[in-house]
């Protein structure tokens, strides 16, 4: 019993530490000080000026770009990665090792090398960099994470299940949909979520592939801001709002999943 309490305490302390910086952002979004960390009394001024999109049109544009890029990249990566994972799982040992290695390259490379190498590719091919190149770049570094999320599920799956389905008269396609996909779905979902978060978070690859046509994502906007010396104060309420919206969304998704399970 004591052990159980200790274990849960550990989890919650870790979570508290992870959330401390976010709490600070949320708290300081309710004051209108220019610098994060200065408290100049309670105020909703930042929220009001955030709603006043005219003043921060470029910030809103950056937000929309970030979300669009993340959803396109995560969706394509999940499809490409899941199909690839099923393929890789069925390869012979040697080619599986080779594909596994190719798959880990973008992860091992690190953002900067992926960014620089794609920058050199687009420059060499004479492709104008912009929205499309950023999406392609994001698919490049998101897909390996999907494959890595799906593969362990396939490896741990009981291979007899698939055979049993075939013996009971399922076609290979039916067996795929009824046996393999349900087994790997948690991996696909976690892969999609990972892809989404990495894409939204990405800064290094985006910076090298975004070109100079004036396209901005949240990351490049903030970086340009931090370079100029200060962080646009409106980013605080924006981060707080994004955070709360996602929190609510995830709770809803989770409760629906629970309900579906209980039925």
């Amino acid at each position: 019993m004591v052990k159980k309490v200790l274990m849960q305490t550990y989890l919650w302390v870790l979570l508290l530490l992870l959330y401390a910086p976010i709490l600070i952002i949320v708290i300081y979004s309710f004051t209108d000080a220019k610098v994060l960390g200065n408290w100049t009394g309670f105020s909703l001024k930042l929220y009001r000026s955030l709603c006043n999109t005219g003043a921060h049109h470029s910030l809103m544009n950056a937000l929309i770009n970030t979300i669009a890029i993340a959803f396109i990249a995560a969706t394509v990566s999940t499809l490409l990665g899941s199909v690839a994972a099923i393929g890789i799982y069925n390869l012979r040992a040697r080619s599986r090792k080779a594909m596994g290695f190719i798959n880990t390259i973008p992860i091992l490379n690190g953002d900067i090398i992926t960014g620089i190498s794609l920058f050199l590719l687009f420059v060499s091919l004479g492709i104008t960099q912009g929205f499309t190149t950023v999406v392609l770049a994001h698919i490049t570094f998101c897909t390996p994470y999907v494959v890595l999320s799906v593969l362990p599920r396939l490896k741990q799956m009981n291979p007899n299940l698939y055979e049993a389905a075939l013996d009971l008269g399922a076609t290979p396609m039916q067996a795929l949909w009824k046996v393999i996909i349900p087994e790997i779905r948690p991996g696909m979902v976690s892969g999609f979520l990972l892809a989404l978060t990495i894409s939204i978070d990405d800064f290094a690859v985006t910076v090298f592939t975004i070109g100079n046509q004036g396209l901005e994502t949240l990351s490049t906007y903030i970086y340009a801001d931090a370079r100029k010396g200060g962080l646009t104060p409106e980013l605080r309420p924006l981060s707080a709002v994004i955070f709360v919206v996602i929190l609510v969304l995830l709770i809803i998704i989770n409760r629906r999943a629970d309900k579906a399970k209980n039925k």
Partner: protein, 265 residues
């Protein structure tokens, strides 16, 4: 057995789209780095870029320092993340699902904003910015990537292995060290790969968390590319790639060992 073979034959080709994609967007770009690294502005073959690196002790020191920081971050993530993944995998499923969501939720706040907030947190607790803040910030940013794959493998693990070990008289430490940990190695190796390399190449985080006092290798590379020194930047990238090759050889060895180990029972 025949049916299984047929299945293998048909599914194998599913690798193809991803293979083609990888060749265009991963392999060719990497070859371009090699080409740029060994040429000068005019496109002539040269080793000048590497000579320049070795002639600058500052760049070499930054390189070694970055490796140290990345190792510390990875160890920190395993030490803090493994117990969390293990506890999560033993909790009931809807509770652990909620918690795992809570663990990835902070990643939805932009990495640069989170980093600036970490700076504010250190100010708030009047802790000095520097090495400590850098490692805290790195672990904070990358620990979800460690917890996630470990949790995934632990959750799928057959509990009867643990029960069997207990029945055969293993104490809880032995059960963990001889059964649970080896079986979770694929997850740990994935976690290491997901943490170590991103850590080594980050630059914005290091700038912010140390008030520009500590420079990581990533910063050096980015500065050169930004200043249009593509060839020197490519050479530095190539040096990093050598390090990556060494690390991935190590981790693929570990992986095949653990796969073998996982089948002995």
């Amino acid at each position: 057995m025949n049916k299984l073979r047929l299945f293998f034959l048909s599914r194998r080709s599913w690798t193809l789209p991803y293979l083609i994609f990888s060749i265009i967007f991963v392999i060719v770009p990497l070859l371009l780095i090699v080409v740029y690294a060994f040429t000068d502005d005019a496109g002539r073959m040269t080793l000048e870029n590497f000579r320049k690196f070795l002639a600058h002790p500052e760049a070499v020191n930054t390189f070694i320092y970055s490796i140290g920081i990345a190792i510390l971050t990875t160890i920190g993530c395993i030490v803090l993340g493994y117990p969390a993944a293990w506890i999560l995998s033993r909790s009931n499923s809807s509770y652990s699902r909620t918690l795992i969501l809570l663990f990835i939720l902070p990643m939805w706040v932009n990495i640069l904003i989170r980093t600036l907030a970490t700076v504010a947190l250190f100010d708030f607790a009047s802790l000095p910015l520097g090495e400590g803040a850098l490692i805290f910030g790195m672990i904070y940013n990358f620990i979800p990537f460690m917890i996630y794959p470990i949790y995934n493998t632990l959750q799928k693990m057959d509990p009867s292995y643990v029960e069997a070990a207990q029945d055969l008289g293993a104490n809880s430490f032995q059960v963990f060290w001889k059964v649970v940990f080896p079986l979770s190695m694929p997850g740990v190796v994935s976690g290491i790969m997901m943490v170590f390399m991103p850590t080594i190449s980050t630059f914005a985080i290091a700038e912010l968390l140390t008030m520009n006092n500590i420079k990581l290798f990533g910063t050096t590379i980015q500065e050169n590319i930004n200043n249009s020194m593509w060839n020197y930047g490519a050479a530095l990238s190539l040096i990093m790639l050598f390090l990556i090759a060494a690390t991935s050889l190590f981790s693929s060895d570990e992986k095949s060992d653990s796969e073998k180990g996982g089948q002995v029972w």
